[in-house]
Amino acid sequence: MASAAHVIIRKRVVILFLFVAVIMFGLGCRLMYIQFFKSSWLAENAIDQRIRDIPVEAKRGIIYDRHGRELAVSVSTESVYAIPAEIRDADETAAKLAAILSLDGDKLAAKLKKRQAFTWIKRKIDVESALAIKKLSLPGIGLTQENRRYYPKDNLAAHILGFTGIDSQGLDGVEMTFDSYLKGRAGSIVVEYDARGREIPYATHRFVPPVEGHNIYLTIDTVIQQIIERDLDRVMKDTQAKAATIIVMNPHTGEILALANRPDYNPNQFADFSPKLWRNNAVSNTYEPGSTFKVLTTTAVLGDKVVKLDDRFFDPGGIEVQGRTIHCWKHGGHGSQTFREVVENSCNTGFVTVGLKLGRDPFYRYLEAFGLGRQSNIDLPGEAKGIVINKNQVKPINIATISMGQGIAVTPIQLITAVSAVANDGLRTRPQIVREVKDRAGNTIRGFETDVVEKVVDAATAKEVKEVLESVVKNGTGKNAYVEGYRIAGKTGTAQKVGAGGYMPGKYVASFAGFAPADNPQVAMLVIIDEPVGIYYGGQIAAPVFGAAIKDIMEYLNVTQRLEENGDPEQVDPHVIVPSVINLEVSEAMKVLQKAGFNPRIEESGERVADQIPKPGSRIPKGTHVLVYTLTPRYGIGSVTVPDCIGLTLREASDILGQVGLSISPVGPGSKVAKQDPLSGSKIPSGSMITVFLE
């Protein structure tokens, strides 16, 4: 018989059992919650931690100039990664890697100790380091191929090209604006891994191949680009200016043939340069255009027939507007003159008079038609809008100053576009930087047609303006841009810079805007020199740069030289103009020169003409000797001798080839050049590709 105590024990065991049953029921519910309601979420997360999606970089598209010369290519390079779980001794591994890659060993060790599946140690390293790491064969440390962007011509066209970041993403320039075409689509390898980074047997495997990026053909002509960059370097040295910009445009199509700024940077090492130097002043800067703007004023007043070229003006040296006297740049004024002479002399008084006569509304109609105060929509990043005073707030005094290019701010690209519109019979086109996007097979993905935005004036007025601008160069302030043999039209400009407290003493922008040939413009060009030291007049420092560059460009484009319109074709001239034979083969050059009536003499034994004396376009008597040089290429055009790259590292080889204007195409996994094609000593056209085999 059970005692009373035993009864209590039995009761309490029942209570205990019920308590246990309740807890079990609770745990059952908890399991149901985890395995029913949270199951998919937990399973997904569990898969996420096991699946490793290793990106396979797509090869980025090549950027070519308009003739297919390479400006930006992608070279294979190695990147180092770590799978921390596989590393045996994190500190030792970190120390060894840090020594090779010049990294902070302690930080690296901390990184390697983190519990993560995969981490980059250093990406896009040089060949020597990659080889050294391969030799160590550290557990948990691996190398993988990635692409590094390489700009074979270094600084050339840097502001157009831009650069790419570590993930090969476009960060500036065309690399950025056309990134979606260039980048292609990264592929991936999907693998399921265990916690130590080994593949799980029978697990998911998938390879998604990358899609290569498209190639881009710029409107840029490398030779013209080289011409203006050379001239920019020269003018920076001569004037000690703070900055300078040149833009060359095809006025009919709106294509930018060349565009460059100084100071510049090397996109191969963009990070070593101040971000200030990355700025593309040609589209990002706004400045007061000064007298170059008078091209637009002239077009407006002639277009609305406010004035005729032969209308007479009297310049007493100044004009009073709203109680303020605007002085002409010339003390005492220009006296009595026709409107043509007003333009030739860049007479402020005259321009203020016609501008006020035109009136606010028509004037603003033209400003708008020229595209001022708005982005030109060129496909380059960071474009500014310029500043145009709000039409409703503008006073006659503002109209007066705008007439002479003050109190208005434009970007260089806006001004060249406006000047091009005059050159293009009054039709303004959208400035373009890319001609074509092609896929790897050469099929056109996207073509760029000439994009006429607006008719600014009729062709007849445009013709009048062209004429008067030609006489600015022939007879007026633009004389220094004159090049014998070519008809050049243009306008100088000198503007005092505006700072916080008004015009800044001693700080000027000298510029020249124009086009050539005047009657059938092939190129329009703008030269801007910012804060030159010493002489600061556009006519004195910008015009000569314009003249020198336009001469070389005309020669390069083989624009037939013409006598001036007022020249007498009947008159028998014993002088003949020297034709350009640069870049021709020697035999052909001989024929051309002989046919023109000269006595050619070959000074060097090359195959292709690199230079000639006298220069093309010179007027010299018939029968004179013309010296032909073959060895020193002037602008990188013509052929170059292939240097010997055998035994060099990839970097050394690409440097050497880059210096002579050749591109490099590395093949093979090694670090030293074993073979090259073409062989050293061969003569090949500049810009060609040298294939180097690395072993």
Partner: protein, 367 residues
């Protein structure tokens, strides 16, 4: 009492055999990867588990055939031996340190955990001592205190190793035994408060315990450190869903979930066999609890009742704690899942306890 022993309770026996069988399969499935990685032998843990199970079953058959009344006199000497072992394991040079805890004692390749013996001997000791003092149980000093003194000794020594999970399981079991034996509820409440106070002080002394405590409530706040175990455990169980990913096809055992064949074997089981598998395990433990407590209720004497209740509680408490930990229902404390987790000495002593329980069942009329 004098009646001839019948055959033991078949339901307890079958539930245990089922749990052991599932355990062997799961130990193999969950340990194959880490066994291969660490020992280049996928069967490393399976072989050992089979040996331990065999030894455990032998121990069970032995205790099943020893009249449980024998333990009443043996309880005190066993307790003394246990205390000696618990002290020895703490002596540097004698106790073997694994994962920062000095828990193992042994020679050659044979090691055992004194704390495993402590679980069993504590139940024997309490059942014996409480049945002797059963008339004084309402007195705190004379009825309750003697067990508490021994418990504090054992608890303190195990905590010193440290092995908080086992210490808590033993403390909990003694508490349940005091309750079962008929201690005053006011005494038990006071003890409960004292326990809570103890836990709070333990946290103040070792702040990492607080982190662990918080980790279980939101493991994702520290997924790579304190929350890691629990997240991996939930990933495993959750991935299983209703029917599981299939036997042998766990992904978490690929070194994501540490110790998949010991404390977290239930998570791998949940992944491979799904809710069907986990609820089966719970039901088997429920069967065991039901029959175990039934034996306790029907036992012919107080000693038998207390023994049966204590042994059942000891096993069920560990099972519930383990399942609660792997389902993130309570803070992580290292407690193996009885019968399923890989583990040598634990299996032997647990099965010895089951043998004693089965022996009691032989003196009971169960329907």
């Amino acid at each position: 009492m004098g009646s001839r022993p019948k055959s033991p309770d078949p339901i307890i026996f079958c539930a245990i055999i089922a749990l052991l069988a599932i355990g062997v399969v799961m130990v193999y499935s969950s340990s194959a990867v880490s066994a291969y990685v660490n020992f280049q032998d996928s069967y490393y843990f399976l072989k050992r588990q089979l040996i331990w199970v065999s030894l455990g079953l032998i121990a069970m058959f032995l205790t099943m055939n020893i009249d449980y009344h024998a333990w009443r006199k043996l309880a005190k000497p066993i307790m003394i031996v246990t205390l000696v072992l618990l002290v020895l394991v703490l002596v540097p040079g004698l106790g073997r340190v694994v994962n920062g805890a000095r828990r193992w004692l042994g020679v050659g390749s044979i090691y055992m955990q004194p704390s495993e013996i402590a679980k069993l001997s504590m139940v024997l000791f309490c059942a014996s001592s409480l049945s002797l003092r059963q008339d004084k149980i309402t007195s705190f000093v004379k009825g309750v205190l003697p067990q508490l003194v021994v418990l504090l000794l054992v608890f303190g020594l195990i905590l010193k190793e440290p092995d908080l999970g086992t210490a808590l399981a033993i403390g909990g079991t003694v508490f349940v035994l005091l309750f079962t034996a008929g201690a005053k509820l006011s005494h038990l409440f006071s003890l409960g408060f004292a326990g809570v106070f103890g836990i709070i002080s333990a946290i103040i002394v070792e702040p990492y315990r607080m982190k662990r405590l918080l980790a279980f409530s939101d493991p994702w706040s520290d997924p790579l450190d304190t929350g890691y175990h629990i997240i991996q455990s939930l990933y495993a169980i959750g991935s299983g869903g209703l029917f599981g990913v299939g036997l042998g096809r766990s992904r978490e055992k690929f070194l994501y979930l540490p110790e998949p064949h010991t404390d977290f074997i239930f998570a791998i089981l949940g992944e491979e066999l799904g809710f069907i598998g986990t609820i089966t395990i719970i039901l088997l433990f429920f069967l065991f609890a039901w029959r175990g407590f039934k034996v306790a209720i029907s036992a012919p004497d107080i000693f038998g009742s207390l023994m049966a209740a204590g042994l059942t509680t000891m096993i069920i408490m560990q099972a519930l704690m383990n399942i609660a930990v792997v389902t993130a229902s309570m803070p992580v404390t290292g407690i193996p899942l009885p019968f399923l987790s890989f583990g040598g000495s634990a299996l032997i002593f647990t099965l010895s306890g089951v043998g004693i329980l089965l022996n009691i069942s032989r003196y009971v009329n169960l329907k």
